[in-house]
């Protein structure tokens, strides 16, 4: 089939395929879904885990938009202790590679989480730096290059687990944030988290203020990967609006080393198979040996040593 061509390395992590299930859109991967071929999934990213259990936001939590959706789930999760005891062992049985997404409202919460996770065998920690009101700041960590640098640096000192910084697109200059994360020692970047958006439910006369995802945000995700690729050396996981097989190719061409599937699975149950097929076809058509060869192909930076 050629699927072996799709093996990739993200730093020292070897993945059988470049498909990573994005945080929050695949739960903990434990639902019984017969139409998914789990062998085709390179890694799962868990729903974001916090130190304390979080209840999440009240209804309404979702609303449809043109080619996408808004969600305001909030970080509903049972807390790290429950997660480690009752959920993580089950994930291990089902997935080859596990990325655990974590978030904290304070630096201290992050450090506590890291210390706990240090004792677990997992493949990477994804830092969800898009928690709205970090400490007393009226912004997310990833909305400030100083905060990003500071938090990543602190965490890096506490752990040897590979770290991924998940960035928000809601910034004036995403390059600055990516550079700050890289300088602080992050191992990988994943972009994008959802885009700030709002919907009006005219029937119920309610607003849903949350994060936009789905096909509609693909051009925003591609632009972020494209910009970040120019300024960092570490691998980029491209996420946002991959709803068809060929969408994944586009992310590689502008600079991604792997891709994340989020709400694409909600609208297209065949998305994983389609991505695998499209990537293999593209490699064959362009006579490329592996995905690394096409990463950044349409980015002016390609060619310069990485």
């Amino acid at each position: 089939m050629g699927i072996e061509k799709l093996r990739i390395k993200l730093g020292h992590i070897e993945l059988k395929t470049p498909i990573i299930m994005a945080s929050g859109t695949f739960g903990y991967g434990l639902e019984k879904i017969n139409f998914i071929d789990y062998k085709k999934i390179g890694a799962i990213t868990t729903k974001t885990i916090t130190y304390y259990p979080w209840e999440g936001n009240p209804q309404p939590r979702i609303y449809e938009t043109y080619s996408g959706m808004i969600n305001s789930i909030g970080l509903q999760n049972p807390g790290v202790f429950y997660f480690i005891k009752n959920i993580l062992p089950k994930i291990r049985k089902k997935f080859n590679k596990i990325f655990v997404s974590i978030s904290g409202r304070t630096e201290n919460e992050f450090i506590q989480l890291i210390k706990i996770m240090n004792k677990e065998k997992i493949d990477a920690l994804e830092l969800n730096l898009s928690c709205p009101n970090f400490e007393k700041e009226q912004k997310m960590i990833s909305q400030s290059s100083d905060l990003t640098y500071k938090i990543v640096k602190k965490i890096k000192n506490e752990t040897s687990i590979p770290l991924i910084a998940k960035l928000s697109p809601n910034v004036t200059n995403i390059k600055e944030i990516a550079i700050a994360a890289e300088e602080a020692g992050i191992d990988m970047i994943s972009v994008i988290n959802t885009v700030k958006g709002l919907c009006v439910d005219l029937k119920k006369m309610k607003i849903i203020d949350g994060g936009l995802s789905g096909g509609c945000i693909k051009p925003i995700g591609l632009k972020c990967v494209y910009d970040i690729y120019k300024v960092v050396k570490i691998p980029i996981i491209g996420i946002g609006g991959i709803i068809k097989g060929t969408d994944a190719i586009e992310y590689f061409l502008v600079g991604a080393s792997a891709i994340g599937i989020g709400s694409g699975l909600f609208t297209n149950s065949q998305i994983i198979d389609e991505v695998i097929k499209s990537l293999i076809n593209f490699l064959n058509k362009t006579k490329s040996k592996n995905l690394k060869e096409i990463t950044g192909l349409l980015n002016e930076k390609k060619g310069k040593n990485r």
Binding site: G24, T25, F26, G27, E31, K32, I33, N34, F35, K47, E55, G56, P58, Q59, P60, R61, I62, Y63, E64, T65, Y66, S67, G68, M69, N71, I73, Q76, G214, G215, S263, L265, F266, T267, N268, S269, Q270
Partner: protein, 248 residues
């Protein structure tokens, strides 16, 4: 749960904005009353959930109301076209034997209760089916199982008794052992708050994204220790015990 491409066998207007859709049953899995299917309709991003109303080895039938863009596109699909469908989704109604039961439906709530009533009948339950609709045209007698006692009501009195089905229900002697209800949230809330002495099972209809228990978008607050807990309507539901719901 699986994802199948199913051919449309029939897609007919029942009356007003109500439709009956029959698709090939290509699923290996068995469906139970209360389960829903999650339909991909090209032209809208998210799938649309519909309770299974009729279920045989050969086909699956749903009854849907045209209320927005998705159902409008669906209503234009013709026999022979295909749909991508996830199913079976969600949990199902608990079913007992030899009981005296009441079924209360309003509007599209009729759909899951038709499937339920035919299963209840097989288990020798004595069924009182309270069926409320806007008017006579929305009483779909041709698809109702036989051998069941129906009590009809319409808003305009054009068929059965005039008035809201819950009000009609309350005028009957209440010696049912179990109550099942489906339909508008207001109806479900009233039925749930009505009696705490006997079990009430209701089918919830929250907005859904994944329909597979992955995203936590469809949750409802359920009574538990503390403030209660959000449960997923698509996975832990759509069938819940009425008294457990924390209504907003």
């Amino acid at each position: 749960m699986n994802s199948e491409i199913c051919k449309i066998l029939k897609n007919k207007n029942l009356s007003d904005d109500f439709y009956l859709l029959k698709i090939e049953n290509n699923f290996k899995e068995v469906f139970l009353p209360g389960n829903f299917i999650h339909i991909k309709i090209e032209g809208v991003f998210l799938r649309r959930p519909f309770s299974v109303a009729i279920y045989t080895k050969k086909f699956i039938g749903i009854i849907y109301k045209k209320i927005g863009l998705g159902t409008e596109i669906l209503s234009k699909k013709r026999k022979g076209e295909s749909l991508n469908i996830l199913g079976p989704c969600g949990n199902s109604f608990p079913i007992f034997e030899n009981k005296k039961v009441a079924l209360i439906s309003g509007g599209t709530g009729i759909a899951p209760l038709i499937f339920l009533s035919s299963e209840l009948k097989k288990r020798k339950n004595k069924i009182y089916f309270f069926y409320g609709a806007r008017n006579k045209k929305l009483i779909f007698s041709e698809i109702l199982p036989s051998g069941i006692d129906y009590i009809f009501s319409t808003d305009d009195g054009s068929f059965g008794q005039k008035g809201n089905i819950f009000d009609i229900f309350k005028t009957y002697k209440d010696d049912y052992e179990i109550i099942y209800a489906a339909g508008p949230e207001q109806l479900l809330k009233k039925v749930s708050l009505y009696s705490s002495k006997k079990p009430v099972y209701i089918s919830l209809e929250n907005y859904m994204a994944c329909g597979m228990g992955l995203c936590y978008g469809c949750v409802v607050k359920i009574k538990e220790e503390g403030d209660g807990k959000y449960k997923r309507v698509c996975k832990d539901g759509p069938i819940f015990e009425g008294e457990k719901i924390i209504w907003e």
